[in-house]
């Protein structure tokens, strides 16, 4: 490829500026290459686009939503259950609120849920996985991995439902419940990577040189887990959003009148099939955002696979 062997310059003569420039250039080149590969996969582009769109909707909801006041205390019984129209693209619900506006705000809860759960789960799961994997066949491994086995022995949604139901139903507790069921997946993932990597020669080389255990775990092994972790995080954003919606659907997540997407689907089911739009659009909104994260995740997976191959 483009590796030029043009080093007539004596390395020791390089100035700090030269080095900084070298670094900048390589960085730009690396990013450029990654972006090029990523951009050649139309599906992941669509995924990334969808997510950016949704995130923008969530962040700028007050400016984008046509009726932001419908998310706050509001009743307009005269306009209840109106089908989609030019004023209300997604129609109105049984209380006369604009569904489009509520869906846009609903994304805030979905994304908060996803981001928070991952923010709790990933560090915990990853550190545990690293430790267990690095000390394979020793007590930290046994302790940690047997614990994950136990947590993985119940279907995650069931455990999440159980924990959420025992706590007071609200978004925060739903996030706690999902987090409690989710960390083992990261532990598992990182564990399997780590056990594979700990016998790689670069790890051995560091050990032989005298690098500390924490250096090896966090500086040598962790960077190698990053791409599968990111891939999984992207896919998991989707799952967590679905689980969050499921919890809300049975009343254990976002509480009305807050516009949780699952909550809206649930309340709309009472008006099916005639007033289909009340639950159809929130459901569609869930599908769209989850699809976005899935496409992105698959794109990242392909990207990283291509990079490693």
């Amino acid at each position: 490829m483009g590796v030029e062997m043009t080093s007539a310059v004596q390395a020791t003569q390089l100035t700090a500026e030269d080095i900084a420039r070298l670094r900048r250039e390589s960085r730009r080149e690396n990013w450029g290459r990654a972006w090029y590969k990523f951009s050649r996969n139309p599906l992941s582009l669509i995924g990334a686009g969808t997510i950016i769109f949704v995130v923008c909707l969530a962040i700028f909801a007050p400016w984008i939503a046509p009726y932001p006041e419908h998310v706050k205390p509001f009743t307009d019984f005269a306009n209840a259950s109106q089908p989609p129209s030019s004023q209300h693209w997604f129609g109105t619900d049984e209380i006369g609120r604009d569904i489009l506006s509520r869906v846009i705000y609903g994304y805030r809860f979905s994304l908060t849920m996803g981001v928070t759960v991952l923010a709790i789960v990933v560090p915990i799961g990853v550190v545990l996985g690293l430790v267990a994997g690095y000390f394979q066949h020793r007590w930290p491994d046994t302790l940690i991995m047997r614990t994950t086995d136990i947590f993985l022995a119940v279907p995650p949604l069931i455990l999440a439902l159980a924990i959420a139901s025992i706590l007071e139903p609200n978004l925060f507790n739903a996030m706690i419940a999902v987090s409690l069921t989710w960390w083992p997946w990261y532990t598992r993932l990182v564990y399997s990577i780590t056990t594979g990597l700990r016998n790689e020669f670069f790890v051995t080389a560091s050990q032989v040189t005298g690098a500390s255990t924490s250096h090896i775990i966090f500086r040598e092994i962790l960077p190698n887990c990053v791409s599968p972790i990111f891939t999984k995080m992207s896919l998991d954003m989707g799952w967590v959003i679905i689980i969050g919606a499921s919890l809300s659907f049975v009343g254990l997540g976002v509480q009305p009148p807050k516009p949780g997407l699952g909550t809206m689907v649930a309340s709309g089911t009472r008006y099916l099939p005639d007033d289909w739009w009340i639950s159809a659009f929130p459901a569609l909104a869930i599908v769209v955002v989850v699809l976005g994260f899935n496409l992105l995740g698959d794109g990242l997976r392909d990207l990283f696979a291509a990079e490693d191959g």
Partner: protein, 342 residues
């Protein structure tokens, strides 16, 4: 022999996991705030009724003692009285579990069959239009929550088209067959009652399909990619070079190794299915353990929650055990290496 050692190890592991699970469940059930008994007997019942029941449930003892009682009773299959149904929880579980299992197994059958069919077609026509259609289908299957599928299916197939019933296990007026396995399909066949059997099947289709969609999509994808991957393997090229017919290669030399990853995730998918059953049974009014469990959770019925989670945990652990054995049978490498190591 190797396979036996492997199975032995897995069973040992399963027992350990179930025990651990019991501890977790107990802990979860006891952190619940509030007095479940007061909730159960209602506010108008006199205090002595509450005290009586607390005593009976050992709720006044220290936690470790409670756990001892709980574990002892649980080991004997006794989970105490449900606060909602007022029945022995174990009896409830026995009553309702078959319905959920029947549904889940039916869904499993649908998803596996569908996935293998779709996955094979997609792999053989990789990157052609049919592959793309199957891909789109897979994506939609994966990203759509099961409760949305459930609602859509009811609207389309039960309401709009009126092809299939929307709720329950049997039509109104059709009496359930005498209980042997608790599976209406099997029990009705046992007494040769084809009409009931057919009715039970018709009731199974929609909820099972709603449950099956996600795993079908997931498994179809895995099958497709593992098949496509194996197609490029040297042993396929080798078989071709040695003149083995294309049909045989597809049916045997390609299929078996390609099944391994698919079968491996069946356990996980089954788990996801059991979880989703909590929502789907609610929507289809399916009188199974999931709906029972959901009601128990919504009414903080501690004994029932523990029993339900433990039941699902045990089933899930058993299914995983089964899957592991199946995978080990498909893949001799696993059982061969099981002699040593952990």
């Amino acid at each position: 022999m190797n396979l036996l050692i492997f199975i032995g190890k897995r069973i040992f592991h399963a027992i350990f996991v179930i025990l651990g699970l019991a501890i977790v469940i107990f802990a979860v059930a006891r952190i619940m705030p509030g007095d479940p008994v007061r909730l159960a007997v209602g506010s108008r019942a006199p205090q002595w009724v509450v005290d009586n029941m607390r005593e009976q449930m050992h709720l006044n003892d220290p936690i470790p003692v409670q756990f001892g009682y709980w574990l002892r009773d649980a080991a004997q299959g006794d989970f105490g009285i449900s606060l909602v149904t007022r029945r022995n929880v174990a009896e409830d579980v026995r009553e309702f579990f078959p319905a959920t299992l029947e549904l889940a197994l039916f869904a499993l059958t649908i998803s596996l069959t569908g996935a293998l069919l779709l996955g094979t077609i997609a792999a053989r026509h990789k990157d052609k239009w049919i592959d793309n259609i199957i891909r789109i289908f897979s994506y939609l299957g994966i990203v759509t929550p099961s409760f949305v599928f459930a609602i859509i299916f009811i609207l389309i197939f039960a309401f709009a088209l009126d092809w299939l019933p929307a709720i329950g296990r049997l039509s109104n007026g059709v009496e359930p067959p005498p209980r042997v396995t608790g599976f209406y399909t099997i029990d009705s066949l046992l007494i040769g009652d084809l009409a009931t059997f057919w009715d039970a099947i018709r009731h199974l289709i929609l909820p099972a399909l709603a449950l099956a969609m996600a795993s079908m999509a997931q498994e179809a994808r895995i099958t497709r990619s593992s098949m496509a991957d194996n197609l490029t393997k040297d042993y396929i090229a080798s078989a071709r070079a040695l003149g083995v017919s294309e049909g045989l290669i597809m049916r045997r030399f390609l299929l078996k190794p390609s099944l391994i990853p698919t079968v491996s995730i069946v356990g996980m998918d089954f788990a996801a299915g059991l979880g989703n059953a909590f929502l789907v049974e609610l929507i289809f009014n399916w009188p199974g353990l999931s709906r029972y469990g959901m009601n128990a959770m919504l009414s903080k019925d501690l004994n029932a929650i523990s029993a339900v989670i433990l039941s699902f945990g045990i089933v899930f652990v058993l299914v995983n055990l089964l899957v592991d054995i199946l995978v080990a049978r498909l893949d001799p490498r696993i059982s061969l290496s099981a002699g040593g190591g952990s």
